[in-house]
Subunit: 349 residues, 2 copies
């Protein structure tokens, strides 16, 4: 069986990643010769996500990982279907979400299934909506869920500020905050169209076009204009001046969930932020970093039951920006950094 995959061609330590950094290659996969425990996964969608930016740097990553070898296949979140199985846990026809190599058809061993994260989407969505497996019922959804509910410990009626608000994670954070916790929800994103979009489609109360605010002081003033008493929570997808402005806007008992820093990803050296930790003492403030894994794996919280129920109840407006074909994965990935995306960017393969 023929399969296509996305490979790292050259490192991009700095600046805008694009098609020139990747190769799409074709290989043959012998799906007739399976070992016990193997399944064959046919990807329907592949996900470009901002966190992958660090995988294509030659320099030491923030996570302290060794650089990815040139020529190796890119890995990330996909959703698709099990088309063959010698694994008792998986049935042919099962819908699956997983972190796997970006390859259209692949054999996944029992050991690989164990060491990565993979979950059954069957019964949660029908095949027409399998792309939810890389969105609301996948990494972005579990990031939004865990970050808002457990890391930020959202309380009803609080005020939350969310950067990257038009994106896959930020949009869901805002919608859960609004629909489940009745929060006052402030989002920042780039441009008037996105500002309008997060208010009308995602139900944000206020939108801040960050492109109007060149530094932390002016962004702080913009937050103050819509939240005169400050913010209780900040969900950080952006870093940089957003972090500083949010920190200085934080009310007593305020919390910051550090989830991403897309303003920094294309820089060779990431800027530090400047804060005064003394502010945190009498106010019992907290800053906490996290990623989705504990919630996506079910170690913490109740992500799949809660999120799929809310989805069925129509609580969310799901917005996707689609790219067709694995050949367009690099362009789709680039769109995350040019501001070309509304909601979840999905590559349909």
């Amino acid at each position: 069986m023929e399969a296509k995959s996305v490979h790292l061609k050259t490192y991009c330590d700095e600046g805008m990643p694009g098609p020139e950094h990747f190769d799409i290659t074709t290989t043959a996969v012998n799906v007739d010769d399976l070992q016990d425990g193997d399944i064959v996964v046919k990807a329907s969608v592949m996900s470009p996500d901002p966190y992958l930016r660090s995988q294509i740097k030659n320099s030491a990553s923030t996570a302290g990982l060794a650089p990815k070898p040139l020529g190796s296949v890119m890995s990330g979140f996909i959703a698709g279907k099990v088309i063959a199985s010698k694994n008792p846990k998986w049935t042919v026809g099962d819908l699956i979400g997983a972190s796997l190599p970006f390859q259209t058809v692949q054999i996944v061993s029992a050991a690989a299934l164990q060491s990565t994260v993979a979950w059954k989407l069957t019964d949660l969505v029908d095949e027409a909506h399998v792309s939810h497996g890389v969105g609301v019922l996948g990494m972005p959804g579990s990031t939004a869920y865990g970050g808002l509910i457990d890391v930020l410990a959202a309380k009803h009626g609080e005020t939350i500020f969310i950067s990257g608000a038009a994106g896959a994670v930020g949009g869901l954070v805002g919608q859960i905050a609004k629909k489940i916790f009745n929060c006052t929800v402030i989002g920042s994103c780039g441009g008037a169209d996105k500002c309008e979009f997060i208010k009308t489609k995602f139900g944000f109360d206020h939108a801040i076009d960050y492109k109007q605010y060149p530094d932390a002081d002016s962004l702080t003033a913009a937050i103050k204009a819509v939240a005169p008493n400050g913010i209780d929570m900040y969900f950080d997808n952006v870093g940089g001046i957003h972090f500083e402005a949010a920190f200085s806007s934080l009310r007593p008992h305020g919390r910051i969930a550090v989830c991403g820093g897309i303003s920094q990803y294309n820089q060779a050296v990431r800027n530090n932020v400047s804060i005064n930790p003394l502010q945190m003492i009498y106010t019992y403030q907290r800053i906490e970093g996290f990623m989705c894994m504990p919630w996506l794996r079910g170690v913490k919280g109740n992500f799949f039951p809660d999120m799929s129920r809310w989805l069925k109840e129509g609580k969310f407006h799901i917005q996707e920006t689609n790219f067709e074909g694995i050949e367009n994965w690099p362009a789709a990935f680039q769109s995350l950094f040019t501001g070309g995306n509304f909601g979840k960017v999905v590559v349909r393969v």
Copy 2:
């Protein structure tokens, strides 16, 4: 009855506080004319604590409080005895710890007892050890207890770095970490004598003389020399380069408890620290500010039973630096900033 009290004479926005900033005055207290609910407290000891530094600034404090009026009496933690009572909860002879005006004899109304924090030391210590009420069984003890156990969520065998390690709070944090959690305990303090002291008396595993390290990089190297794999926890009493060095030494799942910033208190403008929050994401790191109140009030944890039991079991070396007489409260306060103190500074009145 004659009483003496400590008053703010002039503000000290910057630089070293000293006797010139305070007045000691004598007033008459009519203890024969009590209202229902009143008690009369005779202070045995008064506590100079670093957090009081912000009370004598005219500039806006970190806590956002209005400046203290000149001439007003200083307030802080005291321990002493109830010498008269029209309050059913208090008996003549009771030992008391409380946050109250620094006045040798004073009437405290039921409303004042309610709005401040006050606790009974009777049954926990005998009168000869009433100074524990401003130390191990008071603000410093509850700060160490709550910070280590709940904010840092210490686990057995972890590595902790503590700044201000020879002080009232830091010394107790290290001793609880060692005796109760069997942690590897690293302390920083100023000078060879204090380094020797925290190792031999408090049982710290390693001592770092911070005066040898002029910047965050060299301090980071000093931490690395004794903790090659980094630290799991940092208890911050100092701020500045200590915070930055600890942050960059933090292991995955590392936590920082922000409790104080004595390196900054004598400055008119406090320095920010520079950190990269992206470091916190994949590592699930956390920074949290706190003060003692939830534990001292019994809202969180089990401070008085736990701490008094450990004290009785001989788990702690209690070190006090004593000053005699309320007239020496300003000199005692100054000693916190000159490095003249070993353990808890106590003013006996």
